[in-house]
Amino acid sequence: MKNTTNKAFRLTLHMTALSVLLLLLAVFSSLLLFSLPSMKSLGWGFYTGRLWNPFTNEFGVLPFVFGTLATSFLALLMTVPSSLALSLLLGEYSREGGVASFLNSLIDLLAGIPSVIYGFWGMLVLIPLVRKVEEALRVPPFGVGIFTASLVLAIMILPYSASLGREVLKLVPQEQKEAAYALGATRYEVLRRVSIPYARSGIFAGFLLSLGRALGETMAVTMLIGNANILPGGIFSPGNTMASVIANEFSEATDPLYVASLIQVALVLFLLTTLINLLGKRLIRRGL
């Protein structure tokens, strides 16, 4: 009897794990299937085209791929310093106590705020600020664009890398650190030479998680990027991302080729996210 329960439990676990895999496969294959019409009719032009014109049925994904990559990596770049600082502070310097638990709950809170609220905040607060900066820099003061979207994304993805970094730093064996102290290392030296090298792949995995979140973020980006379907000319230029163009245009698209093209945009986003994740995992496995 006990054995059967055991077997049944194991079977359930396997089935559940398998169903996730199947679901992923189903998403991929339906994206592939529904984008066939646009693949057939647009061919490679879809990947190299800079024009997105539903009126003439010309669809090129390049501006959106560029917009997605630009905002995501810019956001990652902006988030790395603060995320690293937070991880080190909470994983090494003040692990417990009032300040730590206060900061920890703040980070959790940051992760729990819906993205539309980030978008609103960005519209009301960031846009006027960015406009002032742009005026000072003598670029067209739109207030919206790649830069503004990246800034909000940076804040949104911060909790993911910060909390993972914190946890892996806490896992650094106390013996190793004590050994370093015994050799006369300062606290900074212990961090530099013991803790960070030990936790390196975990910290990197946190950034990867953040990046993945940035690649797919839709609502906040839509509200702040300016939704111009062009290749952006600079970081203050308006642009658009893949997730954002799908959210904007899918519900009103009726022409079959138009719908198929939007689904193909989703396919490209899916593949790009997978690719970046695989590359990142490889880097982690190699120990960087």
Binding site: W52, P54, F55, N227, A228, N248, S251, E252, A253, T254
Partner: protein
């Protein structure tokens, strides 16, 4: 045990029975978001009066058309008439019944927000990016009483696919062949200049925040929010201020039997030139729409009520009611509806 099974079966039967009963008094529709506040008011009043419940999902015009073609709803709602290719996709003949009018207004952010006059060619050139400054001589000549600042013009358009964009671009395509060839007509466009805001609030938000911005929003939205709007010259040469009344006037023309008529650049002398009907669409042969005979009869009654008595609810909500000729045309379409080939 047996008693319980019996009980279950009985209660299941009861549930199915009551469901069927309710179905006759319940109608399902989906589509345009623009008329949604008006429709929900109408359906509310109608429900209180007759007990007929209408469930309308505001998922957008494109969605309404898709659902009608997919036969998941009894009727759809759309701001842009169905295209020929969409009509072909449907398994039966689809009819359009106008329910109210909407208008697209030009709004802007200028010091003091004066009332500006616009002509079709100036409007097209602003949105094409040909006129780039508010101090442009053509704008100055049109508005001698306003001191226009030397500000760059920032164009704001809709980023989401929208019937509003369709109506606006259709107007510009009619008044400017250059616009038609370069940009075209549609719910989403390849805009030559400017930024995209999501929905009316998105466009309005950008315009309010950016000195020198110009955008287009629905008349109802502009009126509710007290936004500055431009007066536009119509085909007869009159400068018309956009109001619920002047948008209604745009439909004061000979309306074809199928009511699938574009009202932009209207020939009506008092009509605001960027106006459009919003339609309810359904299969002429109502059985195609997966309705029972009772449901079809209820829907016909409802539609007849909406284009007549229902019109009184338009103006308080800033919608433009159908003028008499349009009501007549709508009633003729409703009369032509059939169930299994017979008139209802």
């Amino acid at each position: 045990m047996k008693m319980r099974t019996l009980f279950t079966i009985l209660s299941l039967l009861l549930l199915v029975g009551s469901g069927l009963n309710a179905q006759n008094k319940e109608l399902l529709g989906a589509g345009a978001t623009f008329p949604y506040p008006l429709y929900s008011k109408m359906f509310d009043v109608y429900n209180a009066k007759t007990g007929v419940k209408v469930n309308y999902q505001a998922i957008g015009s494109g969605g309404g058309i898709k659902q009608l073609i997919g036969k998941t709803v009894a009727f759809g709602g759309t701001d842009a008439p169905m295209t020929e290719s969409e009509m072909k996709e449907a398994s039966g003949e689809v009819v359009h019944i106008p329910m109210a009018l909407g208008a697209v207004v030009i709004t802007y952010n200028l010091p003091g927000n004066p009332e500006l006059k616009m002509t079709p060619d100036v409007l097209a050139d602003i949105f094409l990016g040909v006129i780039t400054k508010w101090s442009d001589p053509r704008l100055k000549r049109l508005n001698p009483q306003v001191s226009l600042p030397d500000l760059p013009i920032t164009v704001v358009h809709r980023s989401d696919g929208s019937g509003t964009t369709f109506v606006f671009s259709e107007y510009l395509g009619k008044v400017s062949s250059f616009w038609y060839n370069k940009v075209g007509v549609g719910k989403s466009l390849n805009w030559p200049v400017g930024l995209g805001g999501k929905g009316n609030p998105g466009v309005a938000g950008y315009v309010k925040q950016m000195p020198g911005a110009v955008g287009y929003v629905e008349l109802t939205y502009a009126l509710q929010n007290g936004m500055p709007v431009a007066v536009v010259k119509n085909k007869s040469g009159n400068f018309i201020k956009p109001t619920a009344e002047s948008a209604s006037q745009a439909a004061n023309i000979a309306i074809p039997q199928n009511t699938r008529v574009s009202l932009t650049d209207t020939v009506a002398p008092k009509g605001y030139p960027i106006a459009s009907f919003t339609w309810i669409i359904l299969y002429r042969e109502m059985k195609e729409g997966k309705m029972t005979k009772n449901q079809a009869a209820e829907l016909v009654k409802l539609l007849g009520w909406m284009v007549k008595e229902g019109q009184q609810y338009a103006q308080p909500l800033h919608y433009s009611p159908l003028p008499k000729k349009a009501v007549q045309a709508a009633e003729n379409v409703i009369k032509s509806l059939t169930f299994e080939g017979k008139k209802i």
